[in-house]
């Protein structure tokens, strides 16, 4: 096993950086590509967990007199780092990281799926042990991607506004939207698929990154399920509590009069 013959490295494309060639080699390996998918998955999962924690601010309801605490939190996210960092600077850095991570994640997965489909036995093996979550990763992934687009168009860009939305009025926007049963339904279904996706992904990535230790495996699996469940309970709490009326109405939510203004907004 005298690997790494220098002639092999020198023969083709010595102009190419060794680091780049190495990266290419890792990406082209089915196992290496999974490392990319898992690493970007960690970034996405970390964001999802932080997002779920941030959402809990909505449970504090509209503050008496002042702003709702989730509105304050949103304002903080926009202005954090100022004046050294321009407004929304941190937000855009995070967004760019997330877009890059998502792109690598999706492209990597698509290439892996293509490869796996080609290697699939001509007759699908019967289900013995594989979990529902593991079988539906592609479906949950695609649905989550569609949901993310919808979610951003609704609450970030305010492009889709079946209920009145106003910039910066997070609590009022969310509260208003979650008075519609079908919006609540979309969000709860998305959260259910998020649970399935996270449940398999969180455990899998420990395995893929090689952090898994044989005797820790059951603990990791339970840990992944628990984390996914907690994240999804946090996410589901806001639409459920808004719809059921447990959370108080916003002090000065967008009223019917404001519909016209938001309709014209970008």
């Amino acid at each position: 096993m005298s690997s790494e013959a220098p002639s092999l490295a020198g023969a083709e494309g010595s102009a190419q950086q060794p680091r780049l060639r190495w990266l290419r080699e890792v990406w082209d390996s089915s196992l290496g590509k999974k490392i990319f998918v898992a690493t970007t998955g960690v970034i996405l999962a970390a964001y999802v967990i932080l997002h779920a924690l941030g959402n809990l601010k909505a449970l504090q309801g509209p503050n008496s007199g002042g702003e709702a605490s989730i509105d304050e939190y949103a304002h903080f996210l926009r202005t954090v780092g100022g004046p050294a960092i321009p407004e929304e600077g941190v937000l855009w850095i995070i967004r760019l990281i997330l877009i890059a991570a998502l792109a690598i994640h999706v492209v990597g997965v698509m290439q892996l799926v293509k490869r796996n489909r080609a290697a699939r036995p001509s007759k699908r093996p019967p289900v013995i042990e594989r979990s529902l979550a593991s079988r539906t990763m592609a479906l949950s992934g695609v649905l989550l991607l569609a949901f993310i687009v919808f979610h951003i168009l609704q609450f970030t860009t305010l492009t889709i506004h079946p209920t009145p939305l106003a910039e910066g009025e997070i609590y009022a926007n969310v509260y208003g939207a979650f008075q519609e049963w079908w919006i609540v339904a979309i969000y709860l279904i998305a959260v259910a698929f998020l649970f399935l996706h996270l449940r398999h992904a969180l455990w899998s990535l420990l395995q893929t990154l090689g952090w898994d230790k044989p005797n820790r495996n059951p603990t990791f699996r339970r840990g992944a399920t628990a984390t996914a469940a907690l994240v999804c309970i946090a996410f589901a709490s806001v639409p459920i509590l808004c719809f059921s009326g447990v959370l108080p109405e916003p002090d000065d939510g967008p009223t019917a009069a404001q519909v016209a203004t938001t309709g014209a907004a970008p």
Binding site: P18, S30, E129
Partner: protein, 257 residues
């Protein structure tokens, strides 16, 4: 006991195959599945037909020759090899389908016999240690922790039957590759070549057209040697280390292995 069988018949690799119905009667419940196929073959030959071709060797569950999907499950319902699957494991009068493994990486040679040489080529890509022949050292000069020994043995019991590949919806041979890498990489004899082994065997695995692992866990559910997918986790770990080593070696920071 009596059984109705649907057996895959295929004259050779390129030819079309299909199921053939057979009935076999008066089978001893203590007969193994392969012995039952022998009983059926005797009947087929007596009737002037071509016997069903299938792979077998040891008949004691350690050779990994058999490559049957029994009712769609590699080796049958009991997570043992086909020769250790007994007819008492099936209800009397049962209808049983018998096919070869269904992976494109394992072409059918004839009837129930498949070509599993891709697994051999993965072994050739690093599933060995390079030692010189000649006078052997005294074994105790190279002490191994008992835990490491057991760990290596747990992986070394892989018989290379390919059931893991046949059970995997991705047609992945990661359990096989992981077991072979874990076996040698956890022993001092295998340590000097650990990075090359992980890298070389994974590269050959991909080359052979096997799919990747998505942690379904079906492989460990059918493995007759009960090898756990923990060996795949270890393979990932060793592969990651191997790739980092290769990067350092390319930059001249360390010697290539």
């Amino acid at each position: 006991m009596n059984f109705k069988l649907r057996v895959w018949r295929q004259p050779s690799e390129g030819n079309e195959g299909g199921f053939e119905a057979h009935e076999v009667s008066g089978v001893d419940p203590e007969a193994s599945f392969l012995e039952m196929l022998d009983i059926l073959n005797e009947k087929i030959v007596a009737d002037g037909g071509d016997p069903i071709a299938y792979d077998r060797d040891c008949m004691e569950g350690v050779c990994g020759s058999c490559s049957l999907l029994i009712d769609g499950i590699p080796h049958g319902p009991r997570q043992v090899t086909s020769c250790q699957t007994f007819m008492r494991d099936f209800p009397d009068g049962a209808e049983i389908s018998v096919e070869p493994f269904r992976n494109s990486a394992f072409p059918v040679i004839r009837d129930l016999v498949v070509d599993r040489s891709p697994l051999d080529r993965i072994i050739e890509a690093g599933g060995y240690i390079s030692v010189t022949s000649g006078p052997q050292p005294e074994p105790n000069t190279n002490p191994v922790r008992p835990e490491d020994q057991e760990h290596a043995m747990d992986a070394a019991i892989c018989i290379g039957c390919g059931a893991c590949v046949a059970a995997c919806p991705n047609g992945s041979a990661m359990l096989f590759t992981g077991a072979k890498v874990a076996h040698l990489n956890s022993l001092p004899q295998g340590d000097p070549e650990r990075f090359d082994r992980a890298h070389g065997m994974v590269a050959q695995h991909d080359e052979e057209g096997f799919g990747g692992c998505t942690n379904f866990g079906e492989c460990q559910a059918v493995c007759p040697q009960e090898i756990s997918i923990k060996v795949i986790g270890e393979l990932y770990h060793d592969y990651r280390q191997a790739m980092l080593h290769r990067l350092r070696a390319r930059r001249g920071a360390v010697k290539p292995q």
